[in-house]
Symmetry: C2
Subunit: 517 residues, 2 copies
């Protein structure tokens, strides 16, 4: 058994069953081990952003890590943006990065680079294996580190000779840590705030937006009058009929300030005190209202559902029925294709237990309202703002949940970043329906251009914010990667194409050509 085989067996024994990869020469022994050790599924991506985004999507739905296999520093570099998103989602990822043999590193061959330097900013744990004998134990620790809680990207750098030299065998799995019990003084402080009679809000994220946690939060809301708010972007949120609907902190700072206006006690549940996504001239970046006390109920890694349950009990509300969304049938839409009619088409057809991977940006703003009463489903958001998460994350979610339909709502600008992941959807035969909202511009930037005070864009500036000249043909792009597709330029056409896509086995892409607006 060589180091690569011991590594792979250790990963499998620790419950890591999928390897998303784009390997190179220095990773060939790991690749060979896929056939020599049982239990690891290899999934090829044609670009590393597709690989790491898939690992993120997988982790969010499976609740445990996949591993990656990336080729040296440049391969890691190509995957960093989606690892940034994974970091912001607290997704567990075992990020295996091949490296030159230990004795080859100092020679500065062309592909040599500072791998640990690239990995540091996105990783909660980084280690370079230094011998084939040690790599199995390193891998066991990587899995443990990745799982947290909270989850993180654990980067294991694998010099080629630690893969090809002889090893003893696999290392046993290390125990996963449990969520930490809530901190009683923090629970007490939050309870005192909720009992104060002053306006309160709970800002929620992480374990605080799991289904049971949201039920407890609803009881708190009913008993105390506290406002519930989710962070603007959430790694995973249960929604739809039968679930507690969680309003979100709005994206634009002035709307977020509005949502928090008058709040005297802000209770943070796996969330941080709110800040605006970007800075704007003359506008405060910190969104907590002046004079509002901030109480941290739980930090990441603490048991937010338990803390919320304690609060509900403290308010004598533990037996209140939570306020849940009723099933609401949405009629198929008609007319021009707008964010509203597109949302209606989705809401009318969303299958039960679907997974929505949401990177729709401006075209998706009506989606949450319209789907609140759809059959129960999960939504995965862009947590780190690094666009190009959607198509890959849909790959990972579909592999984690082969019995569930995945619907990827995707902005055209974002989709182009990691369009290569469509090929993996075709190769793996994944039940993913992708809707590309084709407005042929970076629409959010045209809004932001005004908001940052860079008024009166001239023709050169506008050119940098437009995706036209030439228009992208998404149906052709999908066909080029083996994914069937349709173009839809009306609400009726989108509804028909969605019905077709959601009923077809394997991937399907719809280019939703939005009405100018």
């Amino acid at each position: 058994m060589n180091g690569a085989q011991s590594l792979l067996q250790t990963l499998v024994d620790a419950g890591v069953e999928v390897c998303f990869t784009n390997p190179g020469t220095s990773e060939m022994h790991f690749v060979a081990a896929l056939d020599l050790q049982d239990g690891m599924r290899g999934v090829l991506g044609l670009f590393e952003g597709a690989v790491t985004g898939a690992a993120d999507g997988y982790a969010r739905m499976a609740g445990r890590p996949a591993c990656t296999l990336l080729h040296l520093g440049p391969g890691l570099a190509n995957g960093l943006a989606n690892l940034h998103n994974a970091r912001r989602a607290f997704s567990p990822v075992v990020n295996v990065v091949g490296e030159h043999a230990t004795y080859h590193r100092a020679l500065d061959a062309p592909l040599t680079s500072d791998i640990a330097g690239f990995a540091g900013p996105v990783s909660g744990w980084v280690r370079s294996a230094e011998s084939a004998e040690a790599v199995a134990a390193d891998a066991a620790q990587a899995v443990q580190a990745a799982q947290g809680p909270p989850g993180c990207v654990a980067t294991l750098i694998l010099p080629a000779d630690t893969a090809w030299n002889a090893a003893q065998g696999p290392a046993p799995p290390l125990p996963s840590a449990a969520l930490k019990a809530p901190n009683p003084p923090q629970v007490d402080a939050a309870l005192a705030a909720l009992r104060s009679g002053e306006p309160c809000a709970l800002l929620m994220n992480g374990e605080g937006v799991r289904e049971a946690a949201l039920r407890a939060a609803s009881r708190i809301q009913q008993a105390s009058g506290a406002k519930l708010l989710g962070d603007t972007f959430l790694a995973r949120i249960p929604r739809g009929a039968g679930r507690v609907e969680l309003p979100r902190l709005p994206y634009f700072a002035e709307q977020a300030e509005q949502a928090l206006a008058g709040i005297r006690h802000l209770i943070l549940v796996d969330a941080k005190a709110p800040v605006s996504f970007f800075a704007y001239p003359g506008r405060a970046s910190e969104l907590t209202p002046s004079g509002c006390a901030v109480h941290t109920l739980t930090e990441r890694g603490e048991d937010a559902p338990a803390a919320l349950t304690e609060l509900a009990e403290g308010l004598d509300a533990a037996r209140l029925p939570p306020q849940i969304s009723a099933l609401r049938q949405v009629r198929p839409p008609h007319g021009p294709l707008t964010p509203e009619s597109a949302a209606a088409a989705v809401a009318a057809l969303l299958p039960e237990n679907a997974i929505i991977v949401n990177e729709a940006a401006t075209s998706g703003f009506a989606m949450a309202g319209m789907t609140a009463g759809a059959p129960p489903h999960d939504v995965l958001d862009l947590t780190g703002g690094a666009i190009g998460m959607g198509i890959p994350a849909a790959v990972g979610a579909a592999i984690a949940c082969p019995d569930r339909r995945v619907l990827n709502l995707e902005a055209d600008g974002s989709g182009m970043y990691t369009v290569q992941a469509l090929w993996t959807q075709a190769r793996e035969g994944l039940d993913v329906t992708t809707v590309i909202f084709s407005n042929r511009k970076y629409a959010i930037l045209q809004v932001e251009f005004m908001r940052v005070g860079a008024h009166n864009p001239g023709p050169k500036a506008m050119d940098m914010l437009q995706l036209d000249r030439p228009d992208l043909d998404w149906v052709a792009l999908a066909a080029g990667m083996g994914v069937p597709g349709r173009r839809a330029d009306s609400a009726e056409a989108l509804h028909a194409a969605l019905a077709e896509g959601l009923a077809s086995p394997g991937p399907f892409l719809i280019e939703a050509v939005m009405a100018p607006g």
Copy 2:
């Protein structure tokens, strides 16, 4: 005038005329400045790997930097792989990376990351602007640093408030450094070696492979019997009729050892002592023969052409006519599409003064031999091994040299990494003909799999090295981005398609479906 305008004007005044960009909210004032200051061309890429690869290709052909404009850490991350190649090419690049406003950075908003951490491994110079008043001077220094010599990636991090706050005005250009004069003891040592009567070789790169330097090297070769060798991958090399043909150090270590066997004096001209591209079990990584003395004639930044001229003079060979390649007409090929027949088609049609961007990998192995007698042209190689350089570098080369035809010879696996750059070719109407060598596998990895001793690949391993299931349809991919194309599956068809592409205005793509082999 705000900081962004002062920055832009400083760049223009220093000779930076093209900005390759994929901006976001934090870069909107820079984008706005494109219309407010004259002289900067903005070129949009739909992914940052397309942006940085274009900046590399531009720098190699223009001999001066373009600037980039990237969106925060994740935008930089997406561009790192091609900045790694630029670093290995010693290409001057002014790499402008937007950042949150200075006061917003500490708030850890979702897009916050360690930008300097990401930039460090690829940059020769990194600075974060800290005020609008200072940003112009920072920009002038960035241009100076990028230009070297040797050239480097100079990363200027631009917090949003240093762009939007008021500035005094542009900063004057700083002087460019000249190449350092050759070091007399090093010239003397090389001369002594060349006169020793023992077998000598010159290993050449950088300024040592410019046209005049190669003529001097040819004189040295004729007078001393020394062998001339170029590094395996060169940022830019003049080739074809009328030029001195420079053989290359082979890629595979055992062939490289063969090329160097018996050499007693290895004279390095802007090159390092040779090492194998990858390590292999049981094989030495350092390729200098045992007992061979290594003499550094010039390091990067020293005047290699002058040093070579001094050597030629020292050998009384300054007036020898250099041995140059004769023009050789290659006949249009017939039969199956193989690396040999593909090379013949290229050689038969290559226009005078063409720029070949070479990322053909295994399918390109016959190209150098076949085109040695083609009309004079330049070739740009993949210097850093980070695949995905070709399509973007062709963008940059075409913008640097609008009067020259660009021919991008591209492997299918590599091409998929930054396929988005085809769209920029269409938008900018660039005269780029792309030949995708479609062998539907990572062919080099199938070779390397055996070479690293990971014998007998099983089906799971082979799956990770194949681009089939489904086959990519490159003509559809190109059409999806507005680039016309043809599929060619014979030598005749490739010849006809190349003739069409090279005669057409604007970009054209040929999927060359290689015969199984």
